[in-house]
Symmetry: C3
Subunit: 186 residues, 3 copies
């Protein structure tokens, strides 16, 4: 009898635990990543002269601005398409392990901020598939951006990536360090 009552109590506890998990899914979620990776990517903006080396180009600009010079007012309204090499260290000349492809747009007049939509595309023996990112980039020293999906090895991925500007050379070159932490892996 005691055993039966104990069982009943346990069953009830489990049901309560499961249902609160289902409705809120908050407390039991761990912030420990299921996959963690660090990469660098390198952006060389087309300026009318560097057509051969450039990896990105201004394709949208507000009225009055051209597309070989970043616009005034903190580049507000500039839309840039890129196809940047991804490397494992911070050397532009290292063998790329993938491509960072997508766009960024400068979206603030009073200081620099950007909005990004892009993917890391891998097609090597090490990684096959893509990780897609979207969200604002306040251009602080360290900032987070959402991982909103993935394919291949990163099927259904969700998580966060921490961006750090690793180098800037005028308006021609910048390098970002990207620390990817996937929180949902399938």
């Amino acid at each position: 009898m005691a055993a039966t009552r104990l069982i009943a109590t346990l069953v009830l506890s489990f049901l309560l635990l499961s249902s609160s998990d289902a409705t809120h899914r908050k407390k039991i979620r761990s912030r420990r990543p299921c996959k963690q990776m660090v990469f660098y990517f390198h952006d060389i903006l087309y300026n009318g002269k560097n057509g051969k080396n450039a990896t990105s180009a201004i394709v949208g600009a507000p009225a009055g601005a051209n597309r070989t010079t970043l616009a005034g007012q903190n580049h507000f309204g500039n839309l840039v398409v890129f196809d940047d090499p991804i490397t494992l260290d911070n050397n532009l000349h290292s063998i790329p392990v993938g491509r960072a492809q997508g766009f960024y747009l400068y979206d603030r007049k009073d200081f620099f901020t950007a909005w990004l939509g892009f993917s890391f595309v891998f097609n090597s023996t090490r990684h096959k598939g893509s990780i897609t990112f979207a969200g604002p980039d306040p251009l602080n020293k360290t900032r987070d951006i959402s991982v909103i999906g993935g394919t291949g090895d990163f099927f259904m991925a969700r998580g966060i990536a921490t961006l750090m500007t690793n180098a800037v050379e005028g308006e021609a070159y910048f390098r970002l360090q990207v620390d990817i932490k996937l929180l949902e892996c399938w």
Copy 2:
């Protein structure tokens, strides 16, 4: 013996319950939000004369259209970058609690519809972090858009936001009410 058999049955039931949850994850999910918030944001489109007050600008347009006037055919092809103040009430002059940053594009020739990719960016004592939205805006009276990610206080957020056009003044100004309902909170 009876107790042991009972336990075996219970274990089996739990395993079945867990696995059906895992494969379909449909029935037990609650549509009750884990976080709900209402905001307004205000868009003042640059028209060549309002450079000081404008919060958005046309940066892409189809051939034949310029970037100080919205294109014909329901503005088809116009891409607008924005950095709009977010307020707690419907007053443009209230103190902003954050910025709505990103882009919208008009994507239909026969009537008005748009496609949005943007974020709410907060950096106050009340909220720190961002919520990112993406999806079509059929420009009905009331329409839903997906919350695809978040950072900071809104880490890993998913959910839905209901948009309502709260005011329109010609092509220079519109105000949206945004009722955010997060369904996944970490």
Copy 3:
């Protein structure tokens, strides 16, 4: 006593199982879709002459390129906004069941690749709501793109869609087959 010890063991096992589920959420997830659908969509690019039939238009281009002809270097930097009919079979003239709305951009100089942000918008007796996609399109024969959200009948959807180019006619027309597999349905 034996029963009690057995129960204790079971409880512990369940707790361990639940917690590993919570932290990794990997093993028990099924890749069997909760919803599967096949559609086709049709893109007719505006070229300066087909204004009546065109369903898409170039709205962004790098310096030196115009917006009625796709740019050189594999169209690098071209941004195209579209509003394409969705059909159930591969016939452009079938009655549309929805609209594919959003944008694509060509993002590689040395060969064709694209990046997509778009939605399927349905408003019929069969389907009401939207499915939103984002990610790279390597333009292989078969490639996957992420489903990052949905509204209405596709509330909170996540999953994957397999894209196959079904027809190409010069630079004026292409048709994609889209095999949608939703893995998270609410």
